[in-house]
Amino acid sequence: MNRAGFSLAALAAIAILGPGCTAASPTIGGGKRLVVELTNGNLGTPDQPLPISVVQPTTFTVNITAELPDGSTDTSFNGYVNVIAQPGSVSNLDITNIQLQNGVYQSLQVPVVAAFGETHIWADDLGYTPAPPNRNPPPECANGIDDNHNGLIDYPADPGCYSPTDDTEDLGTYASGSSDTIYFQLPRIQLVRGYDPADNGNGNKTLFPNTQVSIDTGWRGGSTYDFSTIVIGLTSAGFYVQDLQSDENPAPGYGGVYAYNFETPAFMRVCDRVQVLSGTSSDFYGFTELNYPTWQLEYWDPTQRPCLVPEPTVLGVADLNNDNTLWQNEATLVRVESAGTVTVTIASHFGPEDVPIVNGNYVPSDDASNCDYDHDGKINYADAASTPSEANCAAVCTGNGLTNPPTDYDCSEYSQYASENDFFFVVTDSSNNSKARIQGDASAADLFDPVSARGSVIGAFTGLVSYFSGGTQFTIQARCQDDVVPDRNTAPATSNVACVHPRTSSAINANSQ
């Protein structure tokens, strides 16, 4: 347990590990390799990256050469190699497996789509020789014969079979190589969310499913920002950020995204500006998330700059009845408020008792909006033939999105509240006798009890829009007590102060017994 002990041990280790240091002539490892040389195409630079395109390809020309370990061309190699782009994909499937002649393929045109950031074109010798699946005789990996006499027959038993269409049971050399770096722009949040008019992306589904993406936050190093991406909300399992799109006119929306972090992010607060943000983009039941996020922040210092959290978008009846508007505002701050001719009311039929059945009809009432008849904490949507039927009751009380509104517009299904804290607002506009429903979640507002407040008009309800394809779809989640204003005559707090809590502390995470 001292330095002398360490040094002795370390020196002894080097003595054991290091005989190769003194070798007179170096020996080269046996692996072959592929060299991928970019010969044509604008590669971009870190400062001038190429634009991203999800549908329209950017084409590059490459030469692929099989090399022996000593660097000379392996002229005996006439096999197929697999060509991919990482990240991104090669849009022409005909060239994803190309055959080298005498160890060389010249001037291969590689069209690349959905690439971003630092991209490389890979070539791999997988030992794959493509053959038509219905060929007669069938490919070696689907002919029922142990062609290479290793005791294993066909795909998937023989590891030399890459697929049933592989015409050789032999393994590849697994030599590989990649091109020089091609620099593409990073995607902004709206592109990750799926909004890309050029590629018919409507914002409902991410354009980068299950892909590790780095977001273009607008930070250009130091204190330079082309635009700002701001932390607008924290939850017990992650945080919301919004690209303010101040450089875009008109701003397209779709600027918010939720980063799912398992736990409240450490050392973060609303108003922080994001400099670096990465994560795995995916749609979780339709809600676009960044999973396993990593980030770098410019901590908000009130003495240096104002808080840049934007004021919420106020949603009226027409907005709430338009899914596209709600998609546009997913993961951003919105508000429903009683003002002018618009009134926001908490659903009046909202209580823990089971919904009674009257003459075969499900009839919710003030105290009875619970469709979970077996009290197992969930609605069974497959019991429509039973009586009582949780599914039929839920159709009356909850419905399913805009296409199937509930029969009882003033109902808020209680088990949904008991299990998920969700309840319904009814928003009416007396100027045109229109109305809409939207789900709310006030669990972060400790002092607000929506059950006690059922049937009452509230002043304003602010929050972040989330989506769940499996149920009632859009929900406004209040961030804290500031977001709930029960009194119609009280103005909501402005965004630069609402829910701007002190910075979170460190967190622990473990999986102990």
Binding site: F6, A10, C21, G29, P159, G177, N291, T294, S505, I508
Partner: protein
């Protein structure tokens, strides 16, 4: 063939194992790096990967398994969202997955399909299935050896049967190196030395056809809190994570091209380790049971994320006491006096996690280059540091699902056969304990009590010989959900693998309050998900602060604050309180309301303490009116905690001993271990329950409706369920061995015909037919078995594990401020 068997391994022999403080390591390693350029590993391996004088690309393939947790035999799993997205199966289906024979097949297939390849395992191969309870890890270690594991980091569950067992099993059966760089050990041969230093190495070097790969093992601390107490039963002295990782990186960098950290730290610590160091290329992690697909990319050299570009060579915030060099995170008295920064260029580092329970094998392909232009972290060749050897320029990742379409490795099957037979002969793991129509989740949507948690805590609370005022077990001790269908003894082992027993003790009201405050703090730090499951009690845990008095009290140390959570006593700058400072408590979570039992008399107007709302109870406290069992007929008033009362309490011996940080229980001197295993209590609790459809109103011995045909069962109890008439000999099987459908035939004597759930009869019949699949004569086996008839008779007796048994969420643990 692949190159696995040509890989050259190097590591420090036991007698030269490094035993030194982290600081000494860092300084000495830095000196070493300056004097030993370009050493190669292995006496006979190739010394370089590129042609002389040239740079080149090279690919390295890492096959990754983690947290196998004794799931060496295939098992049934209900496929949930994440697993379905990863291709393990269709959402909500029950599918046969896992098993190391399948894992071995995939590992060796992919090994054959790669050039330079290593199979690395991130630890926790022990604990999680009954085979561990009977063989203490022997088959797990043997299977890992046989599948050709190249290197593994030790996990915290390798110590579940004690450090000596880990040493014994690994010494005897592991033919792969086992790593833990961040553990130091007592002097060999002393009473406190269980001999871990004989099986653990800090790192391994591999020469893969000239590519020199250093693998550093970083073992777990977060679930081994006891190691911070010296001495401890494991004989482990913890070294600081970042200091140790950087020290070994600096030691190895001159000798290797690539540095892999094989980790069981957990993702959040992996991230902090990468950010606080420079020189790591990739982290293969475990402990969290997650798949990161594709791997996370994170920058190193970002000790301050808002100002990247340096790490701490000596960190001022790391406690360092020269007279006691063992790292102790709770030591706030010794701030390092000689801090200085080490400047570096941030590089991208990959963190990969590949799931758990033998569900996946991860394949990570790294494209590496030592071309200064391509290997530069900025694109500027001047920013390439040749000391870093080959840098990752690109990568691909595939998590291969291990399901029933994957063939077995016959060698592993042969290895495991004796263990399987022994288990069959000595413990009938396929014995049915009950039938669960909808399964029971171990998690709750609102983060509070869960159906499985309530079932388990109820079984402890009500167990004959325990019968305390209330009971509590830890949420993370429940390892998996109960899947819908037959409940087997094996499944109970999977749900509750630990051999924990029930310990009784008496707690003062103040101790109860402290315990729940601690639970609130621990829950808050884990996504506001309750870390406790309880019975006989109700509690409201606030994750967003504490309205109780004292939340901002003056303090000198953390333990003076509510909950005693580390870091809760802070100075005016928000830093940990140092001696002599004026500090206040910053409590971010606490137990707002605690109730134990019910009030017996609520005054003249309400002698029976009946209520429909909190205001009906004398104290009118939030959550005081318990209507969870009322079925609309009114609830009962709960009794608020009285700090001066004494309460009988039951928990696991693990928590009673201070496990998972429950120091408040560890300090209690009234403990009595009943030696009743928690798992046995749950099994007995289930077995004592009536079958599905039970009602005393039917007047039959079984409590089930008598019947002659299926039509007679239409009025049988059970919302949303179809009932059929189970009658021996009058039922036909029409399904397949993987999905059986039983059809009642003819008319049954109502003295023997009873209405049972249709899904119970079908699922139990399918379960039995599955057993015939391994029979030499499947058809004869099925005929002799008469599975549908047998299943019908069993469903007349099998306990129904549903909400009637308490397998539901009733808000007894309410989380607010999520």
């Amino acid at each position: 063939m692949g190159l696995r068997h040509m890989a050259r391994r190097c590591g420090l022999p036991g007698f030269l194992r490094l035993r030194f403080a982290a600081l000494a390591l860092g300084a000495s390693a830095a000196a070493l790096a300056a004097t030993e350029p370009g050493c190669t590993s292995g006496a006979t391996g190739p010394s370089q990967v590129c042609p002389p004088g040239e740079t080149c690309d090279v690919r390295l393939t890492l096959l990754h398994t983690a947290d196998i947790h004794s799931r060496i035999f295939p098992y049934d799993l209900q496929i949930l969202q994440v697993d379905s997205q990863l291709g393990l199966g269709t959402l909500d289906e029950v599918k046969n997955v896992g098993g190391v024979a399948r894992v071995s097949y995939v590992v060796n297939r992919e090994r054959a399909r790669a050039d330079r390849v290593l199979h690395v395992d991130s630890g926790d191969i022990f604990e999680g299935a009954p085979v561990f309870n009977y063989f203490d890890g022997e088959p797990e270690a043997r299977a890992s050896s046989m599948m050709g594991t190249d290197v593994m980091v030790i996990g915290n569950h390798e110590f579940d049967d004690g450090a000596i067992n880990a040493v014994r099993q690994m010494q005897k059966w592991a033919d792969f190196p086992l790593l833990a760089a961040n553990y130091a050990f007592p002097a060999a041969g002393t009473a406190k030395d269980p001999g871990l230093d004989t099986i653990l190495k800090p790192f391994m070097l591999f020469n893969l056809e000239g590519l020199r790969v250093g693998v550093i093992g970083m073992a777990n601390f977060s679930s081994l809190g006891s190691v911070f107490q010296q001495p401890n039963s494991l004989g482990i002295m913890p070294l600081n994570t970042i200091e140790t990782a950087q020290g070994y990186v600096d030691l190895l960098r001159p000798m290797v091209d690539v540095v892999v950290v094989l980790s069981h730290l957990g993702l959040d610590v992996d991230e902090r380790m990468v950010q606080g160091t420079t020189g790591i290329d990739v982290v293969e992690g475990g402990h969290n049971h997650i798949v990161i697909n594709p791997p996370q990319t994170i920058q190193d050299c970002t000790a301050d994320p808002s100002s990247p570009g340096y790490v701490w060579a000596v960190n001022p915030n790391i406690p360092f006491d020269p007279s006691h060099p063992v790292y102790d995170p709770a030591d706030t008295l010794h701030q390092h006096p000689n801090s200085f920064r080490r400047f570096c260029t941030p590089r991208n580092v990959l963190i990969s996690h590949s799931g758990a329970f033998s569900k996946y094998v991860g394949r990570l392909d790294l494209m590496l280059s030592n071309d200064p232009k391509r290997a530069s972290p900025t694109g500027n060749p001047d920013d390439y540091d040749p000391t870093n050897g080959f840098e990752i320029v690109s990568s691909t990742y595939v998590p291969y699902p291990i399901d029933d379409t994957v063939p077995d490795d016959p060698n592993i099957d042969n290895l495991l056969l004796p263990y399987e037979r022994y288990l069959d002969q000595t413990v009938d793991l396929e014995l049915l304990a009950g039938f669960s129509p909808q399964g029971a989740s171990r998690t709750a949507p609102q983060g509070g009590d869960s159906p499985m948690g309530n079932l388990i805590s109820d079984s402890m609370w009500l167990r004959l010989g325990v019968q305390t005022d209330f009971a509590m077990t830890n949420t993370t001790g429940i390892r998996t959900d109960m899947i819908p269908g037959p409940v087997t003894i094996e499944e109970m082992f999977n749900i509750f693998p630990f051999n924990n027993t029930i310990t009784k003790m008496q707690l003062s009201g103040t101790e109860v309050q402290n315990m729940f405050d601690f639970i609130a703090g621990r829950s808050q730090s884990r996504g506001c998900v309750s870390q406790a499951q309880i019975a006989g009690s109700r509690v409201i845990l606030n994750c967003s602060g504490c309205s109780r008095g004292g939340a901002n009290a003056n303090c000198d140390s953390d333990d003076q604050c509510i909950g005693g959570v580390p870091g809760s006593c802070i100075d005016g700058s928000g830093n940990d309180c140092l001696p002599g400072e004026q500090c206040t408590c910053d409590v971010s979570a606490c137990a707002e309301q605690i109730y134990i039992g019910y009030l017996s008399n609520c005054g003249p107007g309400n002698p029976n303490c009946v209520c429909t709302a909190d205001k009906d109870c004398p104290d009118n406290l939030q959550g005081q009116c318990d209507t969870s069992a009322s079925q609309g007929s009114g609830g009962s008033c709960l009794a608020p905690l009285v700090l001066t009362n004494v309460y009988d309490f039951a928990t696991s011996n693990y928590l009673a001993a201070g496990g998972s940080g429950f120091k408040v229980l560890q300090d209690n001197t009234t403990q009595l271990n009943t030696y009743i295993e928690q798992r046995d209590a749950v099994i007995d609790f289930i077995r004592n329950a009536p079958p599905c459809g039970y009602s005393t109103s039917y007047g039959t011995n079984e409590g089930l409706m008598a019947c002659s045909t299926d039509a007679d069962c239409q009025g049988a109890q059970g919302p949303g369920a179809d009932f059929v008439c189970a009658c021996p000999g009058q039922v036909n099987a029409t399904g397949t061995t993987t999905s059986q459908t039983c059809i009642t035939s003819g008319s049954c004597d109502p003295n023997v015909g009873r209405c049972v759930r249709q899904d119970c009869r079908d699922d139990v019949a399918t379960f039995h037919e599955t057993a015939c699949q391994s029979s030499p004569n499947t058809s004869q086996c099925n005929t002799d078995l008469d599975a549908c008839s047998l299943a019908g008779e069993e469903c007349k007796l099998l306990s129904c594990v549903d909400e009637s048994l308490g397998a539901l969420t009733d808000n007894r643990v309410e989380m607010i401020g999520r």
